[in-house]
Amino acid sequence: MTETYAPRDWSSQPPYLHPDYKSTVLRAPTKPLIPIRQSLSEITGPVYGHESLGKLDADLTRNAIKGGEPIGERIVVTGRVLDENGRPQPNMLIEIWQANAAGRYVHVVDQHPAPLDPNFLGGGRCVTDSEGRYKFTTIKPGAYPWGNHENAWRPAHIHFSLFGPSLSTRLVTQMYFPGDPLLAFDPIYMGTPADCRELLISRFMLEHTQPSFALGYEFDFVLRGRRQTPVE
């Protein structure tokens, strides 16, 4: 027996082509994916542990300060990385990026005329602990306009990138905030199958809220699980 990874659950994933999100129209693959039998190439993957982190990487309220503090509502975002069998995934790199409190990204291509924050970059990373837990301290990102359709606004979100234990488990996603009225109008969020959209929304948690400092939000990730496959 050899260990491989359960297939992507396509019923929980957005389609490549989702015409309401206009950029998919010319960028979505049109031909069916060709199934691959997992080999070492797919069950291995890049390994980045605690040694790859800088000291302040997980604290976005401090990792780019230039003599002041970032503007906005401080938040803690924490949770666990699990596989679909509920097994915690320790020592996994998580990378995040986000807009500042005014809805502006540091990226030079972002032309939204909201102010940049000299004390905020919006990028961070951490590695999960032995129970698969992670924790970021950051600023709650603002909503921002984009050109998809007339008066289009992205709901506040944080981008997450995870490798998981193998190339097969790679995941890039976005975490949203509870009760955001923009969600129902957002074709990226709405491109997710209806019964899985809630999986992208964080929960406000008083127990993660740090008194007199930051509100706490919880968000768990579920990656593809391992399975036993007979060797042919």
Binding site: S23, R27, H107, T173
Partner: protein
């Protein structure tokens, strides 16, 4: 026990660079990986792989992110699932955005991977991300000067003959070094083969 639902993917969007490829784009944040996979005097044949990403109109995509994952020169992965492991200090991971090269190319300087398990031809695993792609796409890069190995490769054999060329990087015979080129076509008559990994 019922399984948990897998977290849905969402697009990487247009603004990933300052967190995922910061050094390449000149942001003040360290990168975990970049376009060069070569550290120190790692053994193996030095190669360069370059290409562009093209959309359904044949226009170059300047905001894609390409990741590559590969074995070392002897076909060993630096990962615990490979019982041999890589003992040459070669991590095997590269990541590059298409937003800094004047021609919007991804350019990787690496070593040519060996055959992973004897059966597969030398190849590099590729993950494609971009605005407009709600979930990443997996593909592979093979090498034009490995015709005999490619002819025996079980993954290439599973691909319709007329589409196999979309996976084979072509060696530039005029170049002094070993340069291979392969464009990634998201759509169109030369649409790249993407895999359900």
């Amino acid at each position: 026990m019922s399984k948990l639902r897998q977290t849905p993917s969402q697009t990487v969007g247009p603004f990933f660079a300052y967190a995922l490829t910061p050094e390449q784009y000149g942001y003040d944040f360290t990168s975990i990986a970049g376009g060069s996979l070569i550290e120190g005097d790692v053994p193996g044949q030095r190669i360069r792989i370059e290409g562009r990403v093209l959309d359904g109109k044949g226009e170059v995509v300047p905001d894609a992110m390409i990741e590559i994952w590969q074995a070392d020169g002897e076909g060993r992965y630096a990962h615990s699932a490979d019982p041999r492991g890589s003992n040459v200090g070669f991590r095997g991971f590269g990541r590059m955005g298409t937003g800094t090269d004047p021609q919007s190319r991804f350019i990787f300087d690496t070593i040519k991977p060996g055959s992973v398990d004897g059966a597969q031809a030398p190849h590099i695993n590729v993950v494609v991300f971009m605005r407009g792609l709600l979930l990443h796409a997996f593909t592979r890069i093979y090498f034009s000067d490995e015709a005999a190995a490619n002819a025996r490769d079980p993954v290439l054999a599973s691909v319709p003959t007329e589409r196999r060329n979309t996976l084979i990087a072509v060696r530039d015979e005029k170049s002094a070094g070993a340069v291979y080129r392969l464009d990634i076509h998201m759509q169109g008559p030369n649409e790249t083969v993407f895999f359900d990994v």
